[in-house]
């Protein structure tokens, strides 16, 4: 019983510790501080210009993450708020 309790306590602890560290796919696009970032709407406009139907954009780490659809396929586009360069693309 004691072993069981300690195993479970360890489990609970590991949950609390690992939770903040749960890595997201892609998070780092720039080192520039937020105040000097270009607006998210420009990242969305860039995705639109590239032929994506933009569903949503949000800040993910130091990136603008844009949810876009192209030819019926789902994509997550990661733009740098510094120069709006496309850093990463994930096909869902």
């Amino acid at each position: 019983m004691k072993a069981l309790t300690s195993v479970l306590a360890l489990l609970a602890l590991s949950f609390t510790i690992t939770n903040p560290a749960r890595a997201d796919g892609y998070k780092t696009c720039t080192k520039l501080e937020k105040a000097s970032w270009k607006p998210a709407s420009e990242a969305e406009a860039k995705a639109k210009a590239a032929g994506y139907e933009v569903r949503r954009s949000k800040i993910e780490g130091s990136c603008y993450e844009v949810y876009g659809v192209k030819d019926g396929k789902l994509f997550e586009l990661f733009y740098s708020p510094e120069d709006l360069s496309l850093k990463h693309t994930i096909a869902k």
Binding site: A12, D24, R55, R56, L74
Partner: protein
């Protein structure tokens, strides 16, 4: 002959007097004297229930550690959760005695009393799920269903990148993990209190009837 019958009678009548005969769980206390290996060894949890329980635990664990990073694995775990939830809902109607659902309205009505009784150390022993366990299982299944469905919706053309779908998936998934920890804590607490390894019972399916009343509710 396990606990003294007299003790139980005295204890319960004293409580009943204090609580004016209300149908409090506490007034039916058998846990304090629940023996470990007494009565008959009976099969409580059937095999499909046990398999689906542990498979669900695995799927939830995998899903918790894989979002965004291991997308394919996360998705498979999610589909696993959905399939197991569906199975469990069906099994709650056609499974063996202790797998079957009881009236959830009644469960949530007696829940506060039972939790109060646990707090006072006077929760009685059940062979199947106690009221807290029943409330946990029904809430967990609903959350798993919402989490699984909203997760699946996120990768459909229609709901991809829709904020409320993403938020629903995030919050219900957090709630599932939170409840799972409460579930585990409850199992540990009752295992210690009733001197019975409930985790092993969920592996083997067998439990001792000692401490439960004959004809005890599931």
């Amino acid at each position: 002959m396990g606990p003294s019958r007299l003790t139980i009678l005295v204890q319960s009548s004293r409580l009943k007097g204090r609580l004016k005969g209300s149908r409090l769980e506490a007034s039916r206390d058998w846990s304090a004297s629940a023996p470990t290996r007494e009565g008959a060894l009976v099969k409580v949890w059937d095999l499909p229930l046990r398999l689906s329980h542990w498979a669900m635990a695995c799927c939830v664990l995998i899903a918790w550690f894989t979002p965004n990073t291991y997308d394919a694995l996360h998705r498979s775990a999610g589909y696993g959760v959905l399939a197991l939830t569906l199975f469990r809902l069906v099994w709650g109607f056609v499974g063996t005695r202790y797998s079957r659902f009881q009236n959830p309205l009644r469960t949530f009505r007696v829940l506060p009393r039972y939790l109060w009784a646990i707090g006072r150390g006077r929760s009685r022993r059940y062979l199947g799920l106690n009221p807290a366990g029943r409330a946990m299982s029904i809430t967990m299944l609903l959350l798993l269903a919402v989490s699984g469905i909203s997760g699946w919706m996120q990768v459909t053309l229609r709901f991809f990148g829709v904020a409320w779908v993403q938020d629903t998936h995030t919050y219900t998934s957090y709630a599932v993990i939170l409840l799972a920890l409460v579930h585990v804590a409850g199992v540990v607490l009752m295992s210690i209190r009733q001197k019975e390894n409930l985790v092993r019972a969920m592996v083997t399916g067998w439990k001792w009837t000692g401490g439960t009343r004959p004809g005890t509710p599931a």
